[in-house]
Subunit: 390 residues, 2 copies
């Protein structure tokens, strides 16, 4: 990639992020009555469901706090983060430290998952907002939350999901990868070497024979059945760059190499050679995945892949990484970007046709798109010198 | 429909049911080691997941018992039903009267839903098997189970789903329609007039302005948001023929007319004019449904529609009902039937391409296809005389 290309690309990402994606959320998501944001926004920003899904509210708080902390101290970014965080603190957090999955627009609880992820996104929001607000006690509170999450992480009976005797002990890739991200985001100033090592060890168990399995036994043994054969290429790619960030930071070259492999192999396996784009789910042994949506192309795997390939290329200068980055970026430009209303579509069919016109839903909000654009933009501006050792 | 057409059609259904659908399950589903059946069968019958999903095991017990009770007292049908029911009684029923959603192949519990439907299918299996085995105490037991289900039906906090203050009180169409089916299947000899009336009253609340809403407030008020706008044409059509059966039996002409309307209007709304087939989900106000699989064509709505239209036509002789029946039947022949391995595919994309090659999965088993074929075959053999009053 020439200097000129890099500079052009950076301008492109900057424009997309600051002129076309963030304004969509700034304009359409705030709830002026109850505070916080609506996350269920139609193509043009119309609120089609007033439910507030806390994964998305928390991630939006994190995103605006992060931009405030790393890009520019814009008052409107802080105000947005503040409004969201206040709403979360007032309504989403339960006295026992659990966090609701969904609230009514006025904050009354609507749904509680028997999982740990809402708590993870809450902790990330709280830490990043705490830094933006200069309130270190909030960062400390977030760190205590991460400690609780850690104690629940590998035994979900602690969050209300009964452990039944016929269910084989299972480790989900999502858990160590989420914990790793929490260490990176919430605990950067805390000594977490042992925890990071534990995550590294666990993530490695999922990578077998050029494939990244979503679920394995806690000792790494393959599990029988569709859950044991499940591949989620976008998720494995996201885990790859989470791992790369920590591995870089700690100078762990073994983990850096593993992280690169996870990204490259998952892309090779998940890319649809006929229509382009990454499949949502695959079965490692070629059975039909049981998920009805397996062949759809979702926005977030493409966000993760775009950044992960660029990161690999920045570090290795391998032409294959650049080719993969370009393929994903071009697919995004061709299919996901909405040039009329801003933000990106979230859901396409196998052939790339838009199946759902909304920009925000129960699992899509102000998060994957701006995070990927911000990461790419930052990386392009901070481009590492060629490393002759690689 | 001429007499000759009817006879030809009946032969076609008979062949499909007894030569091509039932043998698939008779051959591939039995578990000779632990008893009961495997329900996760690939295109050719290969077991791709040994998990036993109890909705499907119970429905298969019901199906073979029903055939034994109404078609022919074949020993292999009874043996299959007996093996399944024994497995269910031994492993699926909990001491508190709840029933597990999924078991390992050896019967250890795997997953418990916080819903009431597994219990419904268990009760249907138990009653029909009890009749086949000549064990009336099992039928009585099933009737007691229905009484328990009735006491949980409109308050799922009783089955472990916390009622949170932000969730609007909601009546799901699935509940009164399932209860109606239970009355019909489990309680035919019990006086249930008040219960049936209650179901009639509740189902009527879901039918508004030519649309059948999956969710309404308990007083029939429309609910806000995607849940309140959700239309499931196949489900509404199934509710239509459940209602028709009871309404016929009780001579309730008002409910018969409502049932016909539900079937016709749901078909008109749900039929894809471009590609044929019934959509899985729609949003009443034209937003994108939030379900990722909304535009897929599933086998079971087509099973329900095929029978419901034929039933309407048998009673009314309206050419529109015959046209609708023929459209659904032709779509099934063109897209769902697997002439090579038997049984039908379950999942097609919007254009009718097979997306999942398996014949049995967590929600598809020996039930909708054979039930619809049996119902159509029976109706064609039992064709009502023209009613000049209609």
């Amino acid at each position: 990639m020439t200097l000129q290309e890099r500079s052009h690309l950076r301008t492109q990402f900057e424009h997309e992020l600051f002129e076309r994606v963030l304004p969509f959320w700034e304009r359409h998501s705030p709830d002026p009555i109850h505070g916080g944001y609506y996350n269920n926004l139609d193509r043009d920003g119309t609120v089609y469901d007033t439910t507030k899904h806390i994964w998305l509210v928390a991630r939006q708080v994190w995103m605006f706090s992060k931009l405030f902390n790393t890009v520019a101290q814009r008052a409107n970014w802080f105000d947005l983060a503040h409004s969201g965080m206040t709403f979360l603190q007032t309504h989403a957090l339960r006295p026992d430290g659990r966090v609701y999955f969904a609230l009514a627009e006025d904050g009354r609880p609507l749904y509680q998952q028997r999982k740990i992820f809402t708590e993870c996104f809450y902790a990330m929001a709280l830490a990043e907002y705490g830094r933006a607000a200069g309130k270190t006690h909030l960062v400390t509170k977030a760190q205590h939350m991460v400690e609780s999450i850690w104690s629940w992480a590998y035994d979900w009976s602690k969050v209300g999901r009964p452990a039944l005797s016929g269910a084989p002990p299972t480790q989900m890739l999502a858990v160590p990868m989420m914990l790793l991200n929490l260490v990176d985001e919430v605990m950067p100033e805390v000594d977490s070497d042992a925890e990071v090592d534990d995550c590294f060890r666990r993530i490695r168990l999922h990578v077998q024979g050029g494939k990244v399995f979503e679920n394995v036994a806690p000792d790494g043994t393959r599990l029988a059945g569709p859950a044991g054969r499940l591949i989620n290429p976008g998720h494995a790619i996201e885990a790859g760059w989470f791992l790369q960030h920590l591995a870089q930071h700690l100078g762990r070259e073994d983990m850096q190499a593993l992280a690169r492999t996870m990204v490259r192999d998952s892309h090779a396996l998940g890319w649809d050679p006929d229509n382009g784009g990454l499949y949502y789910f695959l079965d490692a042994d070629g059975y039909s995945p049981v998920q009805l949506e397996w062949s759809m192309k979702l926005w977030w795997p493409h966000c993760e892949a775009m950044y992960a390939h660029l990161l690999n290329y920045a570090q290795t200068r391998y032409p294959e990484d650049l080719t993969a980055f370009r393929a994903v970026h071009q697919y995004i430009l061709d299919y996901f970007v909405d040039t009329e209303h801003g933000e990106w579509y979230g859901y396409l069919d196998r052939e790339g046709r838009v199946t759902h016109r909304f920009k925000g839903g129960p699992y899509k909000g102000c998060f994957h798109v701006p995070r990927a654009l911000w990461l790419c933009w930052k990386l392009l501006g901070d481009w590492p010198a060629r490393n002759p050792a690689r």
